[in-house]
Symmetry: C2
Subunit: 451 residues, 2 copies
């Protein structure tokens, strides 16, 4: 990863050298990032000698901090200082951080503002009558109300389990579905390309309960298995069904992206275990709130037990806030004639449609890349007919380029390569949910890239 | 556990039969519990036949809901309906739910009230320059400020990792300290009596990285091990040091109770890995916020990686609120002359001291029970000289009684038996942090119990 940083330093060096010695850069970005100016000045004094000098620090900071470089660099750019050399600005689209939604929520007022006193939410317990005893009753009604308004999932007669994001719920489901006294760990499969975190979340503790068994298309053992069905799929956005033909399978449906801004809603999903999250539905990733809709009471209880052992429940503050936000979204759905600014799914659909139009135009200007095409379908929620508008662009490098991630990295675009998803390295996953300035740079960068 | 329920039903039956047929019970408790009246009426109609009828439901609900019985019964009592038969009221002291602190926080105003708009905390990221990239900067300063004000832990030059409660941090530490390519799972030990959740949190996923190896006093293998040192100890409240003599050990210090309301602060703790939580320091268990103070940067990074895989960070809402509350507590510490109502640790110390006085008086009225004694020491924070005031009473049944948990259960007091802590069944752990009405019933019940 250190070579991303090399380009970054090179860029800062160029910008720095081009500047007046005494100038202090003022950067307006979140909490007033000031790393760039400091490094800029150091570079000015030490020149390229800094690279070797700072390389260790660079490497050790890279893992947790490559987003910070994006922040710093884009901050510089957006501040209007670095007007030239835009092609050297690193654009980080490796994560699916849903900052795209920030502008919508900024125009919301008290309706979605939460006030919490220090005496509230002291207890571990939310509703001791519920299978999921740490689930706030207000969140239950907000979740069921939203699914009813959108028509994307059946909740009647189902059990809801809240999790610290859907990642925890995925692990809770594996725990609940893997027999504790099985002869060996349960096979866990998903059709490639699959979400890059699934293998890691399945195997990071070397569990004796379950093990990652790879691409569901290639699974042919006569053993019990759990098949993870992600629909629409991360990374490629396609609608999915289970693919293993065996009769010993249990299914988990990850429906994080089954919302009207990403895909036409065709009917209320009705599977045994369905996972959702506010991170991708409303964009509140920082809240770490996900929910599972579970048919079987025993499975819901085991999932609850996992979360009880893992984290003794889920943040009450996040649950209360998520409830208020989901309620506001439901309310806005029931006023279809309101202006787009107040209807969340109308706003987010139009934004995604506009971004996909722009990225397809950018890709069509070059022979180097291609994007998937999606069939047109009519959304039962909006009545609109459209193809998928995925949260990620599953970009393919055409022609000679075999490692698309490295190729784009050389042009200062950070994406996640196909191999992480069990797919060809000719593919990369790029986030479509970034802030506008990053997305704009991305769509300007792509057509400008020469092989 | 179903027999707890039998006593509960029996009690409800008595109360119900004693009541006028048409009377509707009005219960004022949190969100207006109404289960009791419903069951009361059912009981009135079906009498004890209900027991068999409802037994399955009882059993399946027991695990997640025995606290609800407490709630319902005490609600009935506190409503003034059941004026007689108090000895039949079930008192649940099995959990350490810190509701005792609620009254203190109720008299706090805006200083500790948090207002959150819907556009805030959307991103996964809090501080990309920090090893723990999802840790809110405001929480870092609140944590370091509080430890400085109290003098119970060294934070200078240390790394702070935030977790979804200290349970997640315990698991993160095991992940960070267990070699991924070890010949076998790492041994994890703690001196008995040890916190009853440690064996479960260590083994619930049948991890190949680590395994519970029991009482540290009995560990004599020539193998690497992790020793968990809980000081003050849960369940018995004693100050602890590590006990294994081996030289292949790594230590984790769980200091959840190293606060001035529970124990005299002797010096700032300065260990490699120290775990704290707001659940027991300020009583905000519902927020699920814990923190680790870690000397080694690589360990802090690995712990951060665990939390990244497990839950992709920690609720921003809870972090922001915890920061505001910890800041207020620090501020109150720096005004020692203020009245107790405004100084959290002064208030909570006096409350714990008063409760321990009352429970010792209760136990001294009978020959059936005994409590541990603690040496007097002077607290560097308050200047007071006192013995430990543990969050749990480690109660021993004297004489003939061999199973103290069952014995107390027969008298409608729910506690956690010694076997769960790797100790004798003559001991039980009873929470000292309940609401006043439960604690009062407990101290009235103990002397009334006849063998």
């Amino acid at each position: 990863m250190a070579d991303y940083y090399y380009f970054f330093l090179k860029n800062v060096l160029v910008v720095s050298l081009a500047m007046n010695m005494g100038l202090i850069w003022k950067i307006s970005y979140e909490d007033e990032e000031t790393l760039i100016p400091k490094w800029g000045n150091i570079l000015h004094l030490h020149g390229s000698g800094l690279y070797a000098q700072k390389n260790n620090r660079v490497q050790e900071e890279e893992k947790e901090a490559h987003v910070s470089k994006r922040t710093q660099i884009l901050a510089t750019t957006s501040s209007g200082v670095a007007t030239d050399g835009l092609e050297k600005v690193v654009i980080n689209l490796d994560h699916g951080d849903p900052t795209m939604y920030e502008d919508f929520w900024k125009q919301k007022g008290e309706e979605t503002t939460v006030v919490t006193s220090s005496w509230q939410h002291i207890s571990y317990f939310s509703d001791v009558k519920n299978v999921c005893w740490f689930l706030e009753p207000g969140l239950v009604s907000a979740i069921t109300g939203l699914h009813k308004a959108v028509g994307n999932a059946v909740t009647e007669g189902r059990h809801i389990v809240v999790g610290t994001g859907s990642s925890q719920l995925y692990q809770a489901a594996l725990y609940a579905l893997s027999p504790p006294d099985g002869s060996g760990p349960m096979n866990v499969v998903s059709a490639a390309p699959f979400y890059s975190s699934y293998p890691l979340m399945t195997d990071y503790l070397k569990s004796g309960l379950h093990k990652w068994a790879g691409d569901a298309y290639e699974f042919n053992k006569e053993e019990p298995y759990i098949e993870l069905v992600t629909s629409p799929n991360n990374p490629d956005g396609f609608t999915r069904q289970h693919v293993v033909k065996g009769d010993k399978g249990i299914l988990i449906h990850d429906l994080a992206y089954y919302w009207p801004q990403y895909t036409p809603i065709l009917s209320p999903a009705d599977y045994d275990i369905m996972l959702f999250t506010v991170s991708k539905s409303t964009g509140h990733a920082g809240s770490r709130i996900g929910w599972a809709i579970v048919k079987d009471r025993e499975i819901a209880k085991k999932m609850t037990t996992f979360i009880e052992i893992n984290t003794i429940g889920v943040s009450k503050e996040s649950q209360i806030r998520a409830a208020k936000i989901l309620q506001a979204v439901s309310k806005s759905c029931n006023h279809a004639n309101q202006e787009a600014q107040t209807n969340f799914f109308d706003y987010s659909y139009k934004l995604m449609a506009e971004r996909w139009k722009r990225i397809r135009e950018a890709v069509n200007k070059t022979m180097l890349f291609s994007l998937p095409s999606f069939p047109l379908e009519t959304c039962s929620f909006s009545g609109r007919t459209f193809g998928q508008l995925p949260a990620f662009a599953w970009l393919k490098c055409e022609g000679e380029v075999d490692d698309c991630e490295s190729f784009l990295r050389r042009h200062n675009v950070l994406t996640r390569g196909g191999k992480h998803f069990g797919a060809s390295m000719k593919y990369v996953r790029a986030s479509m949910l970034s802030r506008e300035r990053e997305f704009k740079l991305f769509t300007e960068r792509l057509p400008a890239i020469k092989s």
